[in-house]
Subunit: 109 residues, 3 copies
């Protein structure tokens, strides 16, 4: 068995939870912060058979890959809303950092 | 050494904490959600010697095994409390999902 | 690769976060409680190359080692503040419990 530890952005967390559940993966989620990605992320612990790791990775990649998104920037403080048309800007969102750890044994009580 | 990762229901968390401490196991607890069990669970990380794993597993099994419990159901909304005697129902509670991971090395600073 | 799991006191958490970032270590932090140390601790997950483990350990040791600190004790309830000069007492602060786990593989999406 393997333990998959996947750190993803909060915004992709619900979608990944659903996709993993639909494929019968059992997951435990931790609320985490910091470093691997921008602030505010969720860490998934997924225990699975060796032969299921590739499927889980594909689901993570399909739901959490880093991608570009157009967002409307916040209007500057004190700006005149009538005269100012904010131009959408590209930002990188998503992304996943994934570690596969070996498991010696597994028990269910 | 081994790292025991045990996901248990919140309701069994305090009892397991006490039982592990009484047997000199050092634990760190994470508040977690989701999948391995019903919502609202606690994940224990227990670092221990290889020869202590069986003792730890027995403590987890004794304090967190899945079992049936009789609970009084909530009275239906708008029900007449005088005429309605709720019949207790059996529910499954508890349960633990436990992974044993190898540890390369351990340090205490 | 290795997964470093370091449980440190909350009071050392920000300092360790900064020191690890300055040395280009990527970290994910969990808010944890209990056993390895006094209540209120932070668990760092650090993924790194095998050859970087010693550097990471040195940073953890330099920022989180257990040490003595003089603290002014809380005045006793009902004590007379004019007549009572609290004598500072030594307490142990800090400390880190660190596990190094093997990683089979690593992915970034
Ligand atoms: Ni296996
Ligand atoms: Ni060992
Ligand atoms: Ni390696």
């Amino acid at each position: 068995m393997k333990m998959i530890i996947a750190v993803v952005q909060d915004k992709d967390s619900n979608r990944l939870t659903d996709a993993l559940a639909e494929n019968d993966f059992k997951t435990t989620k931790l609320s985490t912060t910091g470093g691997f990605l921008r602030e505010g992320n969720t860490t998934f612990m997924i225990g699975c058979e060796d032969g299921e790791v590739d499927d889980a990775l594909e689901i993570i990649r399909n739901n959490c890959s880093q991608r570009e998104q157009m967002v409307a920037p916040i209007s500057p403080m004190g700006g005149n809303a009538d005269s100012y048309i904010p131009k959408p800007v590209k930002v990188e969102v998503g992304g996943a950092t994934v570690f596969i750890l070996p498991i010696d044994s597994f028990f269910q009580f």
